[in-house]
């Protein structure tokens, strides 16, 4: 097994366990490369990649761009705010125009769930989903799984908690698919208004008690409260949310065990996580960012050979 089963990476849901393992293994080699004095390999020098970001992004966009540069690919950056999308051009027209300039791969972030899947059925190039609305963010889940493995070893049978705004989080859904495929035991924890109904059908547990969940888990992946996607009030105030569901020093000190804290960023400091936890020895938040480049190199490298 040395190839991905799919031509695109749209979501973790459609990747096989072998695909996930292959990406994680390949990322290990790329992590070594990005720590060399010269952090670049010539592998994708004949590949052109377009980064289409129809939604804001800092980390993911920089991470993808850096990964592409480390692989020697040619890249085009596109953001909707400064493009003809503002003049009313459709997604398919925009992409087809870019593709006619001989682009081999599209990395896309879009506010509509399913946008990447829609494109993959209509165009020839490889598609990497860099987040589609509240649906999936596959490379984030892969880098989370990689960072967890690096810290606690094989995830089979490990206890992972995902805390916070599950409802609006594409990271949560991709994480659930990825962790379940790798054999982990997953608990979601947050206010009942932010946990979708029937989510247990994905094979996860649901809890509303953060102290019990922290005591249970080996790793807690704390998610951001996505205020920009919340058009109604899901909880009375941020202060109240922080009080009942925020991860803080006092909560961690009550535990009689080691715990790993993760956060996909950007952090609302003082809301879902306090600074003294985010910057503590439990936190691997910055490792996640470093691993993100290696994971994205692995994904694009493997896709380019399909």
């Amino acid at each position: 097994m040395s190839q991905l089963s799919s031509k695109h990476v749209i979501g973790i849901e459609h990747l096989t366990v072998d695909d996930i393992q292959l990406i994680l293994q390949t990322a290990t080699q790329f992590k070594e490369i990005i720590n060399r004095p010269i952090k670049k390999v010539p592998t994708l020098r004949d590949i052109t990649i377009a980064n289409l970001f129809f939604e804001n992004s800092t980390r993911t966009r920089i991470s993808f761009e850096l990964a592409q540069k480390r692989l020697s690919a040619d890249i085009i950056n596109f953001s909707s705010s400064s493009s003809s999308v503002k003049k009313g051009e459709t997604l398919l027209d925009t992409v087809n125009n870019i593709l006619s300039m001989k682009v081999d791969m599209i990395v896309m972030r879009h506010a509509s769930p399913g946008a990447a899947h829609y494109l993959s059925e209509r165009i020839d190039a490889h598609i990497v989903n860099a987040g589609d609305g509240t649906h999936e963010h596959p490379t984030q889940a892969l880098l989370d799984a990689y960072s967890m493995q690096e810290k606690i070893g094989d995830l089979n049978g490990k206890k992972i908690a995902i805390l916070g705004d599950i409802m609006h989080s594409r990271v949560a859904l991709s994480n659930i698919f990825c962790l379940k495929k790798l054999g982990a035991d997953v608990t979601l924890c947050g206010p009942s208004t932010l946990i979708p109904k029937h989510i247990e059908k994905l094979g996860v547990h649901v809890s509303h008690n953060i102290d019990e969940t922290l005591q249970w888990c080996d790793v807690a992946n704390v998610l951001r409260i996505q205020l920009e996607r919340q058009n109604t009030k899901y909880f009375p105030s941020l202060r109240e949310y922080a009080l009942y569901f925020g991860v803080n020093r006092q909560r961690l000190e009550k535990l009689d065990k080691e715990i790993v804290i993760m956060h996909p960023g950007p952090i609302n400091r003082g809301v879902e996580i306090t600074s003294d936890v985010a910057d503590s020895e439990h936190s691997i938040i910055l490792d996640q960012v470093e691993n993100g480049v290696a994971i994205r190199m692995a994904v694009m490298y493997l896709l380019a050979n399909k």
């Binding site: 390949t26 070594e32 490369i33 670049k40 010539p42 592998t43 493997l302």
Partner: protein
């Protein structure tokens, strides 16, 4: 099936099945000779050994150990993978990269690259490309167990050679390293079906 022409030189004629070119004892003797040649020529203070993944590493480990046994001196030892530096990406070659492990500086060092079989020269070109990501060595030398000298596609020549093999038909030359006590080290010819 093949004739021994000169010391260490082989010429193949017709080989319809796997043919043993070197057996375990002969490989052991060759490794010992190569190790002595290396000891004779290298500067221990300023040299490093790097095995080319995957199969060159196994030979490099044996040579590294032999040099230590003969002299009591240990030379820094690393492994290099060429996958991401190959020129045949997307031409059906394996994607699986192996570990690269170079925990020392190669800047201004004499690097001894070790691989099992030198064939087209493309792997060694990729290995030298990968090596330059770690700095600028003073000198790079190449040691191989088998040199298939008439099949080169790039101007690359070894400095230390175990055996030269002149293949006159489409055969593969494979070095098989014993994984456990019941297996044997051997170098074999394998006839290839169809064209490469």
């Amino acid at each position: 099936m093949f004739t021994r022409c000169l010391s260490g030189f082989f010429l193949t004629f017709v080989s319809m099945s796997d043919t043993i070119l070197l057996n375990g004892n002969q490989i052991q003797l060759t490794i010992e000779r190569l190790s002595r040649e290396v000891i004779e020529s290298i500067n221990f203070q300023n040299s490093v050994i790097i095995g080319v993944q995957p199969r060159g590493v196994l030979l490099a480990e044996k040579i590294h150990q032999k040099i230590f046994d003969l002299t009591g001196q240990s030379i820094p030892f690393g492994k290099i993978d060429t996958t991401f530096h190959r020129d045949d990406f997307r031409r059906g070659k394996s994607l699986n990269a192996k570990v690269t492990e170079i925990d020392f500086h190669i800047e201004e060092k004499n690097v001894l690259l070790i691989d099992d079989v030198l064939y087209t020269g493309r792997t060694i070109r990729a290995a030298m490309d990968a090596l330059l990501s770690f700095g600028r060595p003073l000198k790079v030398e190449l040691l191989v167990l088998i040199d298939r000298r008439f099949n080169r596609e790039l101007p690359i020549q070894p400095d230390f050679v175990g055996n030269i093999v002149d293949t006159i038909e489409k055969v593969d030359v494979e070095v098989r390293w014993a994984a456990n006590a019941t297996e044997k080290n051997e170098v074999v010819f394998i006839p290839l079906k169809g064209n490469r």
